[in-house]
Symmetry: D2
């Protein structure tokens, strides 16, 4: 039920918040649910790991603010108008510094917020502490059990004297819970903003079945997100993910990139720029010809599988790298996945008695053949960029800005503009998101066309 696929892994988080994490590891093992904590103003309407980490968290939030100029600009502009005055938003997303910047922006725009985590591992405890200290009702910690997960969600919505009128969801679990437990709540809800592929899929199913009872906004498929999450973000995160896990030098390495969509284009360009020799596999003729024209040798995987040092999948298909190929890889070959699914590499086929698995570092397994050959499998075939690198704040900034604009749009839309259906963010709003991104760009873009 849990959408683990988007989880920002424990390890990647660790390396960024060392101070906080060290504190964590010496922490007592008491469940947050069994603790009594209050913030410095005496407020106790939250449930997090340790309120004492608030200072660490505040610093992380301040750092994040530096790279989220769009939200900061939204805050400033709205000091007069408060376009979310009266909004009661219940949210269920990853709880990170960037989310905190979003929540504090929503609050500055007039909204009240209650928040749970959409993933049992992805909460940054110190950020949750900073939010609790700042007066937000946050129910989340790193390492929740499944029971904890639903308990937290329930604590967000099942409150005496407070009823949400907007939902911000990432994965659809919050929406699902309200449908199941408190269907009447939808009477007051003006709309749902949904972030993830999975959640959007559920909404379309509800809509098709005639059961969607409020308008919903799909912010996953917005132009900005697609373009930036994929091409530009992957161009950087493939390098980052590989370096952090394997410390490999890229120069002179032979790499095969499976698939030449936006993700494959980003990965190929980045590795080529670092001096790798990159081969591409592709079955779509347009993408294949693009790979050719971009200077990549188009191959079938089996032609190069014996010679490459790194294999990267980004096709969106299943079983692209099968056991037979892995049997033929050379010693030390690194195998990882940048595609959407975690089934591009047939990891299951490696769980056979004759192969030995050795966990050498967090997110890094050596799979060892009887003759001693080992391949280096990253993140067990899950998404490398989410598991082993960080998503740049700048990209998260686009996402968060888009979410904020979607909430404002749905909350303020005149009765009847949106029906009980799933909508894409109006293109105009996407433009605004882009224009907000930074002061340099704003000056260039938002004036009259001047060329």
């Amino acid at each position: 039920l849990l959408s683990l696929s988007r989880s920002i892994s424990q390890s990647s988080t660790d390396s960024y918040s060392s101070a906080a994490s060290y504190t964590d590891s010496s922490d007592d093992e008491t469940s947050p649910r069994d603790k009594q904590q209050k913030n410095s103003k005496g407020n106790a309407d939250f449930c997090i790991k340790n309120i004492k980490q608030a200072d660490f968290g505040r610093r992380e939030i301040e750092i994040a603010e530096q790279e989220m100029p769009a939200l900061m600009a939204l805050r400033k502009r709205a000091q007069g108008e408060k376009p979310l005055a009266g909004a009661k938003i219940v949210g269920c997303t990853h709880i990170t510094a960037q989310t905190a910047v979003l929540m504090e922006t929503l609050s500055a725009l007039g909204a009240q917020c209650r928040w749970a985590a959409c993933n049992i591992y992805s909460t940054q405890n110190e950020v949750a502490a900073a939010l609790a200290e700042g007066g937000f009702s946050v129910f989340a910690w790193k390492g929740e059990s499944e029971d904890d997960f639903w308990w937290c969600i329930d604590r967000c919505v099942n409150v005496e004297g407070w009823q949400p009128n907007m939902i911000l969801d990432d994965g659809g679990d919050l929406t699902h819970w309200i449908y199941k437990k408190y269907p009447n709540m939808f009477k007051k809800i003006k709309g749902i903003v949904e972030e993830s592929v999975t959640g959007v899929h559920r909404l379309y199913q509800l809509s098709k079945a005639g059961k969607l009872c409020v308008p919903a906004m799909n912010v996953n498929d917005s132009v900005t997100k697609q373009k930036f999450d994929n091409l530009y973000c992957c161009r950087e995160s493939i390098l980052d993910g590989l370096k952090r896990t394997t410390d490999v030098m890229f120069g002179g390495k032979q790499v095969v990139v499976c698939g030449y969509g936006e993700v494959g284009k980003g990965c190929s360009a980045a590795l080529k720029a670092m001096g790798s020799i990159v081969y591409v596999t592709e079955i779509d003729p347009i993408c294949a010809l693009q790979a050719c024209m971009d200077g990549f040798r188009l191959v079938k995987l089996n032609e190069v599988i014996r010679q490459v040092d790194i294999v990267i999948t980004c096709t969106g298909n299943k079983n692209v790298v099968v056991r037979e190929y892995m049997d033929r890889m050379k010693n030390g070959c690194i195998v990882c996945n940048m595609g959407h699914s975690n089934t591009e590499i047939d990891v299951a086929s490696l769980r056979t008695p004759e192969l030995t698995w050795e966990r050498v570092r967090s997110q890094v397994d050596h799979v060892i053949w009887p003759d001693g050959k080992r391949i280096v499998l990253l993140a067990e075939g899950r998404l490398l960029n989410l598991s082993c690198s960080t998503v740049p704040t700048f990209v998260l900034s686009i996402t968060a800005t888009t979410q904020a604009l979607a909430l404002i749009e749905l909350y303020n839309a005149p009765e009847g503009r949106y029906k009980q259906d799933v909508y894409l963010l109006p293109k105009k709003m996407g433009m605004i998101a882009l224009c907000c991104l930074s002061s340099i760009k704003r000056s260039v873009l938002c004036n009259k066309p001047s060329i």
Copy 2:
């Protein structure tokens, strides 16, 4: 009425067919219409400059064949079937070596062809000679008068005992002529294949007015053409066009590219790769952010106009580079246009008494200010890549293959599949065109998906 915008200029052609051109220059001035010429088999059903140039032209055609593997492959495959058996095609296109490869392919597939030029300047006389020598009824020469132009078209269609059943047009003039003079001919015509923007526009107007009386295929907007003519072709032709006209060294030069669509992307990438410092102007926020993320500094034109060495327009808009900007350019600044229209640079504004124009080479003017400052204007603001470089045969190959496939499709379509409307080439046919492009790609693409 003539679509001069697509003309391949005399000068660019000259540099490629020096032998033939030298012959030309010593040629007598008699109009081809006043000459009596026969080919070596006694056939006289053509009108061209000089049948004696046939050998030169044959060589040019053979060179072109090397880079047109798709058409050559089509020829081979069709040796049995003859999918154009019975087709009587009247064509009106640029008459170049690549067109000759197309015509000889159509013939190999079973068609009979009669051909005129779509532009009064773009005919390669020696190629026309080779076609005439090979038995094709060609009516075209370089430097036709307007009267010649229509006379040639008329000679193609107005023949005793022969009536076309297919039209291949580039610019719509042939179609227009038949509509005007021989409307009854459409009874036997199975379809029109149209190459140019202008021609397609005319067809849509006819269709809208209910006057289109046969199906038409728009091959201008095919995926393959858009992608390749623009991005990949311009990436090479911007360098070629600038070098041939100005001999400028790119390394270290400051360049501003106006517009970051496909053409702008290609120009910017090429010049960056050669060591130029490239600035981009753009008003569309998505394209602007792409420029940013690709590492180009986004500017307004007036910010950099004083310092740049080269200005390239590719916006598709009018008056992007106005007189005021040209007044402020530095001495020696090169100004050229890669966009669709010839109005991006306000050339008219330079035709004032205080400025002196000096033609320093073919396609290159120095415009000189009273204080001695001169700017270097290329092709009088017309398309640089058509005027001052050559279009790679490989790209023309895609176009020609697409045209051939469109003719086959329309000619063989079962009654009723296509109505009296304008169609895009079915995507499947585009795929085939791509798959035909070369043996390497074919082996990779046309088998079962293998990744």
Copy 3:
């Protein structure tokens, strides 16, 4: 006295050996000098943090072996000959997994080894444990005091019944100690191999003063090291260092690189490839013209200091980024050093009362101006790539192979070939080092010229 400048910082190491480090943090605080430890074979001739970490260390060594094919190849070839049979090597270097591969190679070639650390922080405790478990006499741990440091060196050389005949040094401290305490030892010593700039400098001084009493080999200035440590290594480590510390997105960022030597070339190329807009400052005209021709805008620092997002120094000079410039940087500007010295950024000038320093992460300080503006200072102006990224094993492999070849050369040189002077590694040996690097390259390079 300690050459701290080359230290691989604690933090960067942490992130790579999380398992081991976690154990560390829970470790007792007893000094290793006060502990009694034996390896599994009963050997106690070592002094390290914790012999129980040997398994973790072995795994790190095995991973390192994968990227050190040259040393592994040397091992194999020497199984018959043992070119270091009889060699007694005392070493003083960073104790890392790569050093362990070197030591085990030297041992396989016939040498006996005793080893200390050349830096009080850089020892990987678990690697030291694995070496001790494998029978090496290692005296080193992370976090030595200065007294510990010299005690460890002394334990390596001051042994009953064992006297070194070869020295491998990195920084010159070991050599210095023997000169000072055991000068007679030089009678049996055949040569010194020295890695660092500092150590080489000391050797030249000794040589000039007529006090160098054995031949010495300078492996710092070998062609291979210069080319690879600088250009190729920095191209990757600038990205890695910036990402790990700041998580910044490179696309669209404005960056100024101060200095366009090999390091500057690597940094500029990498950031340009990731979509940054890169400016370069340079005073040498040759390098400046190279920057121009490579497409970078040549500027003075003060022209761009207000607008850039990242400032990187790699000039080798002092006070390149002075307080005045930092006063004018924009909020959030990242400042770091990739040059040789740690004085390129005038960090001292930032330690004034009106500025607040905030340590936000390991190696990352925010320096905050009275008006709230903050700049992000990395590694306190020390070398970013050593402090905040890892040096790729592949590069260390070149260094280690060069050291091994230098030891073999000096140890086996016929009497009289090398005088009491400082030598560069013969070019032939550098070639061999390169040829050993990998099997692909070997097949291409080491056969007869074939082109």
Copy 4:
């Protein structure tokens, strides 16, 4: 005896000076030696093709001045001092627009000049006309016989009442002539400036034999020339040369570059940037590892010879591409040379009865095998960039500035500073040359170091 290797071919010149060339072709066939011509001031001390072409030539010179800012700056500065006052320079170089800018600069600095061509084909007749019209004693035309060649040189030096005191030579023929015919002239000659490899080689031989009787300056090996003529110039001219001769599209093509020195680096980088897939052959291990780290696959030529579309030699060795390889190339493969010698491609081996040669364009031969396969051989294996592209004025500007500075240095050196030996240009002068290159760079470089 003639140094044909540096000749700028007729064809490449043609395409750039069409107006003038057209005039040529209609020219009478009288030898210039048999004509009586005077310039508009009645001066007849010159011998050129046609004084009437002076206006065309002046225009070419003015265009060249735009890209030769360094010489123009030298002119301005020297308006007061005249550092060449009293200098009588006899020169023997290619006579092009760029040389004209040099000569007019020398004149502005106070020198008198007499000039001949160093190559029988490379003279631009219209430029020679402009110089003659301007009062220079020029003896040169395109298409001299060998007898004409020596006659022209003799006319420069054998003058009543004028004796040279400086020599500027390119190839050593002028120097050779004076040695042979007028050895006494050397008594008054202060020095020789020599441009070419061949000429420098001759000077070293004279010096070794004790026969060099004046100081000589080798400007061929200056840092600036090496760096720019090779790397940056070739990066552009490989593309230009291939396009002009073959019109090939680079995107997706497979290319092998033989040799990875400066020339190979430039060619490889340019083609990679245009989307070609580039393989490299190299036997020097340092260069080979650079190729690897730059992302090129290192191969032996025979591994890829069957599959590549383009073969480029730049090794400096003989017989790199032998007949055996050409036998195995695929149909349409393009073969060309960018290296120093014209023996890298074994062209002689192609002159056998079973192969047919077909000249398809100027500088382009098809060599046809009995089975119909044809390879496309460019410039008969001579230097592609000199034969088939133009050398950018900017690069020639560096050369010309260096020559001017060398003349000034030698002419003004105090007695005794230079002996009867061959010298390199002092590094300081190289710096000045670079600093002069353009106003942008000057402002950055020539002020106090500022970083």
